[in-house]
Symmetry: C2
Subunit: 208 residues, 2 copies
DNA sequence: ACCTGAACACCGTTCAAGT
DNA sequence: ACCTGAACACCGTTCAAGT
């Protein structure tokens, strides 16, 4: 007679994320997760392969949270639509990082081969293409931009920049937008690819 | 009668780095370090406060390795001296990352309050000032540039970008130089601050 | 099918003891 | 001053057993 299922993978990942949020990554043990779910540690192994798999699952959760409510790229959204979307995506990453500061560092230390991670990449690819970035540079630039944005979000949320006041970090965000916008510039083709009517260069707004 | 000292802090840190290089961060335990030094785990505690202190010591070692042989900023080195120096520093960071791929991820997850870390920051500050970056933006831009350069070096050395061929990564390095150079541009004052004779904008070379 | 209990080989860290 | 031995409370993971 089959037992009723008492836990599942998402419950495990959610509990693990909660533990990391409260006690930091060092507190994140299989036993701690099991205790929080009122279950034996060994019960977890039916739903996650091992601890590495559990950590990858957390990364997946965070990636999905970054993409949550992200509007699909809007080709008719005006000349600078891609820039607005990019800045909003960076803002969501920062929000997720401040909700889960400890777990967020996992994003930069583990390979991003999961579905949600691929979605984030595809999202950025689309925005860069909208900005007129040449096809041979889209993936390359995505790696650079993603690293910068996630790295800054992680640094701000963790202890790495901890000695700074909140106002300093807000100013950092504005500077980051200018930096990324200007950094992309040399990779854009001179004619606008998205809005055929556009004549002036896009991207100036956030850089000043 | 005092015993002869058999180990010291640097020996411990070096052994720890070796272990991380061979077996990854998970293999890095106090017991493994002790065994490699032919000593009891408890002997380590006279030289490092605890495991967190040991990890911070490794970060210190890596930072020092990045700064090793870095020439002092040369104010008379021509208009683009700062850019050459910045690119070479990034190159050294990348070399250290490929020598110590596993340990390198620690650089981005731990606060950088040690001496060597401060030296790296001061080095970058000097280069940015040479580039004509306004004083109110120097520290901010250092955080952004350092995050980008270290993050890319870590990503290339770890599993995060592992699915790419070496040639792709070489091309990434060139794109990174263009990106950073262009990203800094809006923060530079229009008149050159370092070479009074200079008239044309510096930094164009690497961005094209 | 899903969870438990007992067991194994490890962890980081303490304390008192040896030289 | 520096290292050891024994001990404690934890780890991740296995295997066979229960329902």
């Amino acid at each position: 007679m089959p037992r009723p299922k008492t836990i599942d993978r998402t419950a495990i990942l959610q509990a693990a994320l909660d533990i990391a949020d409260t006690g930091g990554v060092p507190a994140l043990s299989m036993q701690a997760v099991a205790t929080r779910l009122a279950v034996t540690p060994m019960a977890l192994y039916r739903h996650v392969a091992n601890k590495a798999d559990l950590l990858d699952g957390i990364v997946e959760l965070l990636m999905a949270e970054i993409m949550a409510d992200a509007p699909a790229p809007d080709p008719d959204g005006g000349r600078d639509a891609w820039l607005d979307a990019l800045i909003r995506t960076a803002g969501r990453a920062r929000a997720v990082a401040s909700r889960h500061p400890a777990a967020f560092t996992l994003l930069l230390s583990r390979p991003a081969a999961t579905t949600a991670a691929r979605e984030v990449r595809a999202h950025i690819h689309g925005l860069l293409r909208q900005a007129g970035v040449g096809g041979e540079h889209v993936e390359r630039l995505e790696r650079i931009v993603t690293t910068t944005v996630l790295g800054m979000a992680a640094g701000q949320a963790s202890d790495r920049f901890a000695h700074h006041a909140p106002g300093v970090l807000d100013e950092d965000v504005r500077a980051l937008a200018r930096f990324v916008t200007a950094g992309i510039e040399p990779f854009r083709s001179s004619e606008e690819r998205v809005s055929p009517a556009g004549v002036s260069r896009a991207g100036r707004r956030a850089s000043r």
